[in-house]
Amino acid sequence: MSTLNRIFIKFALLLLFVALLIGVISSVAFLYPESFNNWLPFHMLRPMHTSAALFWIICGASGCICYFKNQQYPDDGLVKKLTTIFIVTWIAVIIAAFVNYAMGNFGGREYWEFPPYLNLPLLIGWLAITFLILRGFRKDTPAYEWMWMTGVVFFLITFTEQNLWQLSWFRESYIREVTVQWKANGSMVGAWNQMINGLSVYVLIRISGNEALGTSKKTYFLFFLGLFNLMFNWGHHVYNLPNANWMRGVAYAVSMTEWVILIIIIRGFRKKLDESRKLKHYLSYRFIMAAEFWLFANLFLALLMSIPALNRYTHGTHITVAHAMGTTIGINTMMLLAIIGYIFKANELSERLKKVIAFCIRFNNYSLAVFWLSLIIAGLIKGYIMVNQPDMDFNSLMKPVLPFIEAFAGAGFFVFLSLGIIVVIFLRIKVEKPNH
């Protein structure tokens, strides 16, 4: 494994640590803003937390893809050059973004609050990884490579789309501008899900030895269903905007196709149990099993939120946060830790460390459950009051919600503790030889 690639994956892990740490501080700042406003206000903390989480996922996924692509083309100079351009640019820009945050320079949009000119080098860096992924891409390649390619290409598209607000035509109408912004945000999540799903299929093949998984009809079917939803299932973010009614109709109809995934998960439950008995000694598999549970829970929540009549009660409430954080921590982070664990050969760690990691995974699951349910209950209360007592002032509305935010903050500390320990263990692994 190249030094640069190793540094990049460890840089991504560091971003996860930063996201968790600032997340805990932000939750305290949310509850007691008056104690923070003079030195570290919430409006400075939140961008640091969300950007760190976002960059952890994108850098983690792209860093792992670069690693596997470099394994495929060990002697290709161009692949190495493109990897270097991508990694160097992204590390430099991310550091610059955080320096700007610390200095109080903002100006970008939600999740990308750093000064917008930094998006240009990010785009150039991403073009490098796009060329890298398209190099040697064959039509008859296994499903996981299709997923990597789709994820990388659609990240490029949605990242560009996310910046369209800088053109005056888009800013002339607030409704258009918000619709396009959330169209891009929604599809971008689908793009990194494609990258991560492809990586998890690849790692599952490697640890189970089941090569057929990469070319099975079920894998291709789920890939295309994911792609279909990536393209057209973003409307639930903007259901309440007074734009064209057919946009809501399309998003609603497309989102309902995700019930198929839920049914597939339920039908495959017994098989998964057998598989988990066989593969539980693989540390990476434990992460994947945790991710599968959270996939089921969050998918069910997402399906309910995608019904506009129910979205009326959930939009703008903490249920949206439960879904966002549940998927980011429960699914994306677990999957990425499984993949990084495989690359770093975490399975070869001492028995004591493996036991610590296994305990942390379990502990994180329990903490995340409290965290997730607290947010859902907080959201349900807020949503109910907003719909039934729309004239209630904001402070009175938040009073019954706050105890659940306190429970969420407490559970968040334990999420930080359990995942933080795993991150520290992974950061201390010395990676030397390539993993064939």
């Binding site: 949310f30 803003p33 008056e34 406003n37 003079n38 919430f42 409006h43 939140r46 961008p47 903002f106 100006g107 970008g108 939600e110 609050e113 039509k139 008859d140 299709w146 789309e161 888009f170 800013r171 002339e172 109408s173 607030y174 409704i175 258009r176 918000v178 619709t179 396009v180 959330w182 057929a212 070319t215 099975s216 009809k217 291709y220 295309f224 393209m231 057209f232 973010h237 903007v238 259901y239 309440n240 905007l241 007074p242 734009n243 064209a244 009614n245 946009m247 809501r248 109709g249 609603y252 019904i307 506009p308 009549a309 129910l310 009326r312 939009h315 703008g316 719909v387 729309p390 904001f394």
Partner: protein, 151 residues
């Protein structure tokens, strides 16, 4: 027919591999077409009106001061403060009420030390947003199929 054919094919059939790029390209074309429609038709205003300069200036301040981390517009944004979409037209609140908050802050909201002009620009931006629609969907807009019909 296309789907039926695909399902009945054995996994190692080369024809299946030919269908994968075709399906991908078909979906991609559909995505480009749909995105174009969204860009054009997501603006509900039929008459083109020029956006005043102070609205743009207010929009920039909104972004530079990260107002969205605590406040929402159309339910999108943060959770610390209220949704401000229709605050300007709220008879119990309105621009004068908003101005005091923006200018001096509260124990929860920091004082951003904005000038008088900047405060007015933020309010001009929020008034402009307010005119674009309502953040809460009325019960009458909920269709029996579960979707909304918003005029």
């Amino acid at each position: 027919m296309y789907l039926k054919e695909a399902i009945s094919l054995p996994v190692d059939n080369p024809y299946l591999y030919q269908m994968i790029p075709k399906t991908w390209c078909f979906l991609f074309t559909l995505f480009v077409f749909y995105s174009t429609l969204v860009y054009i038709y997501s603006n509900p205003e039929t008459q083109k009106t020029k956006v005043p300069k102070d609205v743009y200036a207010g929009m920039n301040i909104w972004q530079q001061k990260n107002c969205h981390t605590c406040h929402q517009l159309y339910g999108l944004g943060g959770y610390m403060g209220p949704d401000l979409t229709n605050m300007a037209s709220d008879k119990t609140k309105g621009p004068a009420y908003m101005k005091v908050f923006i200018q001096y802050g509260t124990n929860k909201m920091p004082n951003f030390h904005l000038t008088e002009t900047e405060v007015d620009q933020v309010i001009a931006f929020l008034k402009w947003v307010d005119k674009s629609g309502k953040t809460r969907v009325s019960p009458q807009s909920v269709h029996w199929t579960g979707t909304y019909i918003i005029n």
